[in-house]
Amino acid sequence: MSDAILKMESISKSFDGKEILKDFDLEIGRNEFVTLLGPSGCGKSTILRIIGGFVKPDAGRVLFEGRDITALPPEKRNINTVFQKYSLFPHMTVGENIAFGLKLKKKSPEYIREKIDYALKLVNMEGYEHRNPESLSGGQQQRVAIARAIVNEPQVLLLDEPLGALDLKLRRVMQRELIKIKQEVGITFLYVTHDQEEALMMSDRILVMNKGIVQQEGNSKSIYDEPQNAFVADFIGDSNIIGGIMVRDRLVRIQGVEIPCVDEGFGNETPVDVVIRPEDLEIVSPENGYLRGQVQSVIFKGAYYEIKVESKGYEWMIQSVDPAPVGETVGLTIDPDNIQIMHKPVSADEEVIRDE
């Protein structure tokens, strides 16, 4: 990327002897919406805090528009952060909170006035200027926090799980608004979340992380449709992940049955992991399916039924709009397109996270 606004070069960071990041590289383009997605403790927040200047890396450099800012304190960086816990100043009104950064920059009262009005309108909070932050709901507080960051016209806005403390419905609303705000102000967003839906919905580019290592990088569609290892497949949405043998190009053997697929280049008779999304499996009559099994449970989930079918010791998860009778033997079929073949994990960070 030639137009990189922000670059991290071989960043390493340990806390109390525990290595969080090792030789981490990142490049963010101008006006991009990049999301760091991963479970808690994967190092995503540390990356944000290093860019914000709150954490000094043990090694490596942070470049902002080509300039080394590694040693620069947070107040000297043209980067602003929206914190998860809003962090509004409780002793100031909404308007004073928004004006905080501008006053420090010695902007004229007219300019500040205009900016406050603009920002409150942008985040849909007109008329709240003189309110006390503590009298606002979580969603409103986060809107103010976004306004407070944006009025400073940062070139990069860091968002550290900004919607993490909000309830599901409000989160969905705020996601749409964030996209709108992003389009309106046209600045680079670096977003951190552990919510995969949020990441898929908002981002231009997603970096899926685990244990301080980027597992996969790409746009929402490629991350969802073509997970490159078991960790990504499992973390992004529900998945059936099962061991298989790549017989040859375009043919995989799962549970002893050869099924056509579209993947190539794995060699012959190679052990692989196979990912099949629950919505891609189709229940058919036993003689028409590649696989055969017994329906274990059917749960109504609103938009679909979640059906578990046991076949040769593996429990397949299927999402279907039609229920199936529990106990009945059914067949399972799948389009070659919807089978995703992955190499077996070579390190712990590529594996599925098991609940302890």
């Binding site: 914000g52 107040e75 952060t81 914190f83 962090s87 409780p90 905080f100 420090l104």
Partner: protein, 278 residues
């Protein structure tokens, strides 16, 4: 039916406190009021209440005010840097430094002041050390400076503790947010830490100003008995003067001034967050 009974139980639990307050606060106050408003013959008079305006008493009161205000200012100036430094310490060191600050409070008040008398006297430790570096000897004992040192030393913990509580309560996120928006260390203090510590500061002022204004032991011991605070005057009315009526009258008028002062701080307190200790 259960509710009134529960209330009764609670009242019962509070009764030792009620007895305590009655016996040691309300009753003495009534006695003092009675003394203040009567003369030796037992006739009603307001003479003693206005005795505070006599020139000698005004002088003592102003000197008390000076000492109390100076003490409060010094305590504030000392407390903030100490608390800010403590904020940067780890949990364990923080607890230890707080323990060090409280430690002198466990020693007898008179003993501490007597120790200061030794330190500050003309041939005391301080002048010995100053002599070593070629300064002095300085006449500190029996001066207002000695009284000031004594009251600041004594009341500093009462300023530190509420400010400490208020500042430790400030979430680190707020400080990071301020820095993120472009505030350097001093601006963070001025715009975030200080305003959020005001409830603690007000508690500290009340707890330092009032007792340092009314104290008399410090000025007795460190002032050599020549420098009279209003507290000393009252004490002498009761002891050497043996005039309980005049002493009570002065006490009552002093209390009125203190209450007026406190009313001001509580008014400004209700505007912000609730106070930390008071």
């Amino acid at each position: 039916m259960s509710k009134p009974r529960e209330l009764n139980k609670r009242t019962l639990v509070a009764s030792p406190y009620a007895v305590w307050v009655l016996a040691f606060t309300v009753l003495p106050l009534i006695v003092i009021l009675q003394y203040a408003m009567t003369d030796a013959a037992g006739h009603l008079t307001f003479r003693h209440l206005f005795e505070v305006f006599s020139p000698i008493h005004v002088k003592a009161a102003l000197f008390s005010l000076e000492i109390a205000a100076g003490c409060t200012v010094f305590c504030i100036l000392l407390a903030y840097p100490m608390v800010i430094a403590m904020r940067h310490l780890g949990m364990k060191q923080r607890g230890f430094s707080l323990f060090i600050i409280i430690l002198p409070m466990w020693m007898n008040f008179i003993l501490r002041i007597l120790a200061w008398q030794m330190i500050l006297s003309n041939n005391g430790i301080l002048n010995f050390l100053l002599g070593k570096i070629g300064i002095g000897p300085l006449q500190i004992a029996n001066t207002p400076a000695a009284i000031m040192i004594g009251v600041v030393y004594d009341y500093l913990p009462y300023m530190i503790l509420p400010i400490y509580t208020a500042i430790m309560e400030i979430n680190e996120d707020l400080i990071e947010a301020a820095k993120d928006l472009g505030a350097g260390s001093f601006t963070v203090f001025r715009r975030v830490i200080f305003p959020l510590s005001i409830p603690g500061l007000l508690s500290g002022i009340v707890m330092v100003f009032v007792p340092s204004m009314t104290s008399f032991v410090v000025s007795d011991i460190l002032g050599g008995g020549k420098l009279q605070l209003i507290g000393n005057v009252i004490e002498q009315e009761f002891t050497t003067g043996n005039d309980w009526h005049a002493g009570s009258g002065l006490s009552v008028s002093l209390m009125v001034f203190v209450l007026i002062g406190m009313a001001f701080t509580s008014v400004s307190k209700t505007e912000g967050k609730e106070s930390v200790i008071w």
